[in-house]
Symmetry: none
Subunit: 135 residues, 4 copies
Amino acid sequence: MDMIIRLESASGRPLYQQIVDQVKHMVAAGTLRSEDRLPTVRELAADLIVNPNTIAHAYQQLEREKVIETRRGLGSFICNSGSPLSKAVRIAMVADLIDRALVEAHHLGIEADGVRAILEDRLVQLGRSEEKSHV
Amino acid sequence: MDMIIRLESASGRPLYQQIVDQVKHMVAAGTLRSEDRLPTVRELAADLIVNPNTIAHAYQQLEREKVIETRRGLGSFICNSGSPLSKAVRIAMVADLIDRALVEAHHLGIEADGVRAILEDRLVQLGRSEEKSHV
Amino acid sequence: MDMIIRLESASGRPLYQQIVDQVKHMVAAGTLRSEDRLPTVRELAADLIVNPNTIAHAYQQLEREKVIETRRGLGSFICNSGSPLSKAVRIAMVADLIDRALVEAHHLGIEADGVRAILEDRLVQLGRSEEKSHV
Amino acid sequence: MDMIIRLESASGRPLYQQIVDQVKHMVAAGTLRSEDRLPTVRELAADLIVNPNTIAHAYQQLEREKVIETRRGLGSFICNSGSPLSKAVRIAMVADLIDRALVEAHHLGIEADGVRAILEDRLVQLGRSEEKSHV
DNA sequence: GTGGTCTAGACCACA
DNA sequence: GTGGTCTAGACCACG
């Protein structure tokens, strides 16, 4: 199975960050599971046609966030260990992201109920993408 | 009334982006309303003790997003936009931000109910800052 | 004032890690205080005769650990914000380091009281180096 | 009796180093005593499911540190060393490790009394693992 | 001028 | 063969 990552070099978002985002998304969606092995740094670099250092940077950030663990000489693997951050910090991080979504929603003319509906929809989508990957 | 903006030079988020965020936040909360006049670039630069270029950059972005309108020789004013984007596009933009929050929440060990609770909390916070502005 | 860092390229310990260690040591000892400005990446690179990327790597790690904060376009500054890690994790980290010291002490024939004495001595030294820097 | 070693492939710490640490820990705790025989390289490699080279590397380092002694054709044995280093050097080595713990503790917001408490706790833990080995 | 990102390519430790 | 470290040098966003 290939891990499918799609980079947009024009997006302004750093390449390594796009990789981090997409791996985290796949883990949250269940497409990648605990103990799954990621492509090696060199493989993914060749696949995405970017410098191996860029991939290494992304993998190191994923490891710092405890999304993956790297076993020397073997490769990198998804792990599901809990975040070492304090609960208050974790909630603040999510609250900040929710805040941004709410402000943006207001400017786009989407009210509270609309945001609630979108939230429920995305929760379902994230859950279902797991089933999709088994079809 | 002064427009109160608080910058964190350490947040990693660019200063101009923080200004954009906070102006949009104030509009979302009702602290700023259509036709309200913003401080001039120079005034705000002196107030926040930052480079005027930084303020100008922020105002330009706000104008691009149709949050404010600059009238030659008169200053910048909040305009009630009415987003020109289609409903589907607008929902997709908010859904994308919600998605990021959900992915992050998953990795921080915060489940669906936790995110719902945070959403309700932030909705209340946004509402309250509106009430404060009515005092 | 120069920030004095001494690298041993033969020590096996990565250069960037040696820089991180020494900055943290100086902060703990009071030689560097909140709001003190660090040399720029390029300055320190020229000073230590290493690649600027190596310094940048060290500074980024210090920022992740909330030892310094970097203000875009201005430089890096010592900050004294608390660790975002949960208390249990923080205690475990220190306990692990203490454990290593205890095991090493045993193999070197130093018993519990000896280690306690060394601890008290180092506590005093760390405190005093602050006074020394003011002479 | 088997020598129980538990490796964490995710810890970042090299496997061979973890083996060295744990053997030294067992000697410090009294679980292993002078003249005790260690498993052969092949036995331990099979037991831990790692490359024999890794075990050999660990044993070589233990021998360099005079923790074990390899007797041709007989195997490896714990030796009660008696470090050849001068007292001043030995104290300096432990002091350096304590220093690192203190610097880390400072940055994690753990004060002197907290470190003292952790030290006493770890001393008790080391002692208890010795008692367990007497059962 | 400041740090951040990315490329290219070398060397080393580890398994 | 795997990732980690370091060098060298380019380009860009930010202030």
